[in-house]
């Protein structure tokens, strides 16, 4: 369970996150929505240790994790993806996945010189695992391509794939859907559900595609201007006047005028 207490993040005079308080229940798939610039990514970045909060606390399973560096959080089981894909461009897609698991034997220099055998075994396992993930994401054909040279959507998939390489406790997904083909996205939705059910991952999902949110998220939190605007089931949120006004809107005005 993650509890965010009165979190503030200011950039100069601008309050990107302005006193947000929320809790994420273990085992849930929480949706985080809100207009552009509401502070969602900033909130993620603060929780994930990329940004220092101006004030406030983040507590994970009773432990104060505010300000811990990202790599430490990773080892506590807190993973995240990036809204703008952060691939390792000069490495192959498979390597992008294989590098993820922490504490690999081969990451110790000593072993690279005197433990070749054990490393080889470990590598075989990692490779199998990576191929499995690639296959699941339907991108096994790009396994040997450099990650810098695959399509925008494929990069996002890779981003998601990395979180599947380890046993995470909680995964923060920042707009996995943007730029991903819808058919595939809904497959991913199923996968998230499956990971949630079978492995007990907790997910926090930022997404602008309401259908996707609809499919998987139970509690949904809507942020606006750095604060939590509304919280509840998706149905409740959708019915919320403020949310409609700030975020959902009422559909295309010109829709009927098309196709003349």
């Amino acid at each position: 369970m993650i509890v965010v207490e009165d979190l503030h993040k200011h950039f100069g005079g601008f309050h990107a996150v302005d006193g947000a308080s929320l809790r994420i229940e273990t085992g849930s798939i929480t949706g985080l929505i809100g207009p552009n610039g509401a502070g969602k990514t900033t909130l993620f970045n603060v929780i994930a240790g990329v940004l220092e909060p101006t004030s406030g606390r983040v507590i994970m399973d009773g432990e104060d994790i505010t300000g811990l560096p990202p790599h430490a959080l990773f080892h506590k089981g807190l993973l995240r993806t990036f809204q703008i894909a952060h691939e390792f461009g000069s490495m192959t897609c498979r390597e992008n996945l294989m590098m993820v698991p922490g504490g690999q034997l081969g990451e110790t220099l000593w072993n690279t010189w005197f433990g070749r055998k054990r490393i080889a075994d470990e590598e075989r396992a990692l490779r199998a695992k990576a191929d499995e993930v690639l296959e699941f994401l339907t991108i096994e054909h790009i396994a040997d391509l450099k990650a810098g040279e695959v399509s925008g959507g494929q990069k996002k998939l890779l981003e998601l794939g990395r979180t599947m390489m380890v046993d995470a406790k909680i995964v923060f997904l920042d707009e996995v859907g943007a730029g991903v083909n819808r058919t595939l996205l809904y497959t991913i939705a199923d996968a998230i559900k499956q990971l949630n059910k079978e492995r007990g991952y907790t997910f926090v999902v930022i997404e602008h595609d309401m259908d996707f949110i609809d499919k998987i998220c139970d509690p949904v939190i809507c942020m606006a201007e750095g604060k939590v605007l509304a919280e509840g089931s998706l149905a409740e949120i959708k019915a919320n006047e403020q949310v409609i006004e700030a975020y959902l809107g009422t559909g295309l005005k010109n829709k009927d005028k098309v196709g003349a």
Binding site: N36, S151, Q154, T183, M210, A246
Partner: protein, 275 residues
């Protein structure tokens, strides 16, 4: 091409009406004689074959995309299908091994991207589509770089469309949120006042309310006679407003039709639009 039963002459009729410049003479690219259907569209990327770099493998295979004057054409397809590549090819950002690009009847295959800008093409790439170190306003000004007239009016329109940008206009664009950046990118392209606008996933990461606004605006823009060619993963909304839709798979045309046709096609829906 042959496996593409949808590539009929829909849309060309419109083009004959909306294209006052008259018909272009269509010269099929070597070895791809079958693509004559789009011969009189405003912008045609015709039977394009090619890939990245001098030696890279072909990404596009005899792929044709076109848009008529004042119409909206939407390209959809799975990730890595070559949609962005097709757009870039149309814009002269990679070398075509085969095929040609024609704008308003003129063969522009050999032109550099800047020259195409001057010819009236505008482009919003999928990634890296803003000047991160420059302020929002400067980004928009750069959009109007080739314009010699007063662009204050256009800028006001862009600010109307995306009010948040007006608020942040003195801020470096690199400090904006993902969706805000996307708005800057589209705003920049609109500033060009192009004759044809190429948008690579303009709505990726923007909130529903802005997306609706954006689509609305795109329709309006199209109705002023500007042709719009866009790639979209929010495919259902996009196809709803599209005059024409292309489905690309592995660098080749898989389905082509009006937006409504494609939306109605159960196979397309299932495989590419998420059911």
């Amino acid at each position: 091409m042959s496996k593409n039963p949808y590539q009929d002459d829909h849309g060309n009729k419109d083009a004959s009406i909306t294209n006052p410049q008259g018909r272009a003479e269509f010269q099929p690219a070597p070895g791809t004689g079958a693509a004559a259907h789009t011969g009189d569209a405003f912008l045609i990327g015709d039977s394009m074959t090619g890939g990245y770099g001098k030696t890279g493998p072909d990404i596009l295979h005899d792929c044709t995309i076109a848009v008529n004057k004042g119409e909206i054409a939407v390209i959809v397809g799975p990730n890595g299908a070559g949609k962005s590549t097709a757009m870039k090819a149309t814009f002269g950002m990679l070398n075509l091994r085969k095929g040609s690009v024609r704008l308003d009847g003129e063969d522009i295959t050999g032109l550099s991207p800047q020259d195409r800008v001057i010819k009236g093409m505008g482009f919003v790439p999928q990634t890296h589509n803003i000047f991160t170190s420059m302020t929002v306003e400067e980004n928009l000004e750069m959009g109007a770089f080739i314009r010699r007239d007063d662009y204050k009016g256009t800028m006001a329109q862009v600010y109307d469309l995306f009010p948040i940008l007006k608020e942040k206009r003195r801020q470096p664009a690199g400090e904006l949120s993902g969706g805000q950046r996307q708005q800057v990118a589209v705003g920049r392209a609109l500033m060009t006042r192009p004759k044809v606008l190429l948008l690579d996933e303009p709505t990726a990461g923007v909130s529903p309310i802005v997306m609706d606004e954006l689509f609305d605006r795109i329709i309006e823009v199209a109705r002023t006679g500007i042709s719009i060619l866009m790639v979209e993963q929010n495919a259902r909304q996009a196809l709803e407003i599209a005059d024409k839709g292309y489905v690309l798979v592995q660098g080749a045309n898989a389905h082509t039709g009006t937006g409504k046709d494609l939306l109605a096609d159960p196979e397309v829906r299932r495989s590419f639009l998420g059911g």
